[in-house]
Amino acid sequence: MDNQHNPEKDRIGQAFALARAEKPAYADLYPFLETLFLLRAGGKSAARPERFELSAEHARARWEGSFPLLRRWEFPLDTEAAESLLEMIAGSLPEDNVQLKGAHESLSRALANHPEQRTAIWRSFLQHEMEPWEEWLDVAGVDTASLLFLARNCLRPSVELVAEDLLQRFPIPKEWLKGYCPVCGSLPSLLFLEKDGQRNGYCSWCGTSWGLNRLQCCYCDNRFHESLGYLYAEAETHYHIQYCNLCKYYFKLVLTGELLYPPYLPLEEWTTLHLDLLAQRAGFKQPPSPSPVVYGDAPA
């Protein structure tokens, strides 16, 4: 484990301290999520995924053609780093979370039983339209959502590092105002509005942030103001649920100008679950993750 000071870990600690005071309703989630995010942050300093080779011309051409730089299954991965993260997570799985424990067991067993296929097993979780991991994993009785959650969390450090490296080499052009991530084409898990009015997306897959139009549905690109709106709870005016009346999808938005500290978005994804309920009760749907514009319509 790294002994170096990691500012990301400080941010995580601060975000959880605030959340514990501010949102006690989610108390049950905090111990596991905090450990998970800290492990992910540590994993990120340790992971060394290969560089994704791309020329400047190719990057520009992709963006000009409205394509992201790469597809989810093209991400280089440091599978060893993912595996050590999987091992470390074992000790902090919540006692009563049978699904997560089952998923952990199944994945660990598959990796142990097929050592020569480890890379293929890990890479299989980059897919979203098929379930290739079933070739190696015993999935009987295993909850798919838990399995994906676990595997993709272990891969997240690699994915973020690849995205960050690409963005360092190729800064996102200002004109990229698509509703999907310029790096991987996923839809945002959250939106955030800065004090100066700049609206941004936060990628659900690789953690990239990018600029959006102020009025725009990230799912169907509708920009007609009369069919776009938002809901909010009076006690939490720093969150909006932005919906589109054409496609009926919604996105959660954090107004960061109201917050004392920059929000830690991976945690906000969880501590805004009550807003999902609110949105869904109002008849709106949760967006699927990879954008259909890039990946085609994925099964629900």
Partner: protein, 243 residues
Amino acid sequence: MAGKSFFIDTTRCTACRGCQIACKNWNRNEGSLTKNTGSHQNPPDFDANTFKLVRFSEVENEGKVAWYFFADQCRHCLVPPCKDVIEGTVPDSVIQDEATGAVVYTEKTAEAPLDDVRESCPYDVPRKKDKGPFVKCTMCIDRVSNGLVPACVKICPTGAMNFGDRDEILAMAKDRVEKLKPRYPKAQLLDANEVRVIFLVVDDPRKYHKKAVASLSPGIQRPAGKSTLAGPARRVLKTVLGV
């Protein structure tokens, strides 16, 4: 603990009064009965329903009229003289929040003597509700302890109102003074070492408001050029003991 601070950059203020309204809104304070006094400043002064007040001053600068705006409020002194005076009569009635440094009056302050309390504050901030407690800005302690910025800061559209950890705010304020100095040689921070609400002005503070700095309050002086943390304590001695 360093706690929190505000930085109020008057050069960015457009006097929209958003902060004044946001403050009323958050604190559920009613409107104040007021009348036209020939100034855009409205109401004319702090009152029991107005904890934040944008002061307007018309000044003459080299033959030209200039408007100075001063979004006034309690400074949340590091060593608050009002606390000492109030608690001289009613012990434990003023809270100085440990995490933020906010000076917050409780209902118990109702019993404290009006004149003494008003006089104790070098910025003439505290007001009293009819037969009720003393009132003033609370640093939106209920918002801040939930990770939100104060209502006035949230609303300010120009970046005049800023809030955060004291170290960062002090650095931001000093940096801004340095940037402004070449164009405004009189750019200065007001009582920065003694208060948590740090104003930046670019002219003689008197031109903004007669109580913009502590040293402008009659009978309350700090040794010239020697602004120290002991300042507010000295003010208390002066106010309470007349020394």
